[in-house]
Symmetry: C2
Subunit: 243 residues, 2 copies
DNA sequence: TCGGACGTTGACCCTGGGGCAGGGTCAAGC
DNA sequence: GCTTGACCCTGCCCCAGGGTCAACGTCCGA
């Protein structure tokens, strides 16, 4: 019979693989055509039209089960459905574009992993000369805090950034950072502990909102990390709670 | 231990389902963390960072097997890979937008299923008052032709559109269309056959390129369609080849 | 201390095809 | 007649998870 297509020709016409056509047959989306004497499927022009419809909907991300319904829906329902599909498609495009942006940030620093406020905070600390080790501790601490309570984390990071404008706090922070590598017998440790305690008592009244949980030298949250503490820091902790 | 996340908390943090995290464990993408006494997985901040990386790459459509390699690739290779991924992403966005356009045409006529030239041709025929039945025959014929040979189909459709500028050809075409429903004994049939033959002989020399295959009244290709012929048309065919 | 709501565990089936295996068919050339 | 290459057939496994299940764990209020 003249004008009957094989599955491969049909596939080429619609820009679809042979496999996909067979799949549509299995799902009952495209009617199984007649077979020739050797069992090959033989298609006509209407099949080509149907297939292009199916492919258009499917490549818009419509699940095949729904495509099936849509194919013999009345024109009004089809129009409505198309409008809705178009909306979800726009949404997907927008999301892909956002993914694009995030992808670009992947080679950068930590901005992708923490909130913008925390990222700014970490940048600030880096400018002050804080060690990479301490920066990681900070970053990880804020990550953990955010999982516990994003709102609280936001309040805390705001407080913390404000605190860093205090020169004495900044000095203490940097010195604590340095102290990590000191010997536990270092004579500077008691003096540092003392200064820290004094600063604490002086500022206790100010940030009353969450006096317990707001860790001035915030490493509590990251305690489980490897290298999150050192002999000198342990000594420091003992000295500070000792009195 | 303080600061250890459950799988659900980690999932919320990264904007990912619990299921996906377990999947990444199975694929060896994300290291299996320690379990607590009851067998629950317990995660740290580093896991959150790793997970966001994975998710960023995966939602850009990178296959997980490649994500795995990328995770511990050197920065240069990563940069190159990201550039490439970005390109494929742009491509996907462009393709989605095209899909959007095609979707809109789905409620329209046949423009989606045939080449633009054929679509214009069909529009022209419709304006001339050709029956819907005949239009379908035409459309299906061109579809079948295109599967046989897109280039030839392009040549043929160009010739055909030129031919339609001939008033006598137009008149014959329209009358053949009407003749479909006539009785096979209709006295107008012999006259029509005669006129058609005359026209043919008059124009035989002109379009020499494909004298055999260029069907003046092109319904050969669609002969397999239901309703592609009628008693009157059969009679007409007999009359024309009879002499 | 109990009950109920919610989390977590692994296991299994579903999607929309791509890929592969093992076999049949066809047309062309030797 | 035989081979060769291109095409077709069915059936099964794979991806990247989503849904659902039964069986536990955990936490919170009464």
């Amino acid at each position: 019979m003249f004008g009957m297509l094989t599955i491969g020709q049909l596939a080429d016409y619609a820009g679809v693989t042979v496999k996909a056509i067979r799949h549509y047959h299995e799902r009952g989306l495209l009617a199984e055509p007649e077979r020739d004497t050797s069992g090959y499927r033989r298609y006509g022009a209407q099949d080509a039209v149907d297939l292009v419809k199916i492919r258009t909907l499917a490549s818009a991300g419509v699940p095949l089960s729904r495509v099936k319904d849509l194919l013999d829906a009345d024109p009004d329902a089809l129009t409505a459905a198309i409008a809705e599909i178009d909306r979800t498609l726009q949404d997907r495009i927008a999301r892909l574009r956002r993914t694009c942006d995030q992808l670009a940030q992947l080679r950068g620093g930590d901005r992708l992993f923490v909130s913008p406020e925390v990222a700014d905070h970490l940048d600030h600390l880096r400018e002050l000369g804080v060690s990479e080790r301490q920066l990681r501790l900070e970053r990880d601490g804020w990550i953990i805090m955010r999982t516990a309570s994003p709102e609280d984390a936001f309040v805390w990071i705001t407080e913390r950034r404000e605190l860093l404008t205090d020169p004495e706090f900044r000095a203490l922070y940097l010195e604590h950072d340095l102290a990590y590598d000191w010997s536990p017998d270092d004579p500077r440790l008691p003096a540092l502990a003392d200064r820290t305690r004094k600063w604490f008592t002086g500022h206790h009244g100010r940030s009353e909102t969450r006096p317990v949980h707001n860790p001035a030298i915030a490493r509590l949250a990251a305690r489980s990390q490897p290298g999150a503490t050192s002999p000198a820091w342990n000594r420091l902790a003992d000295l500070m709670k000792g009195d």
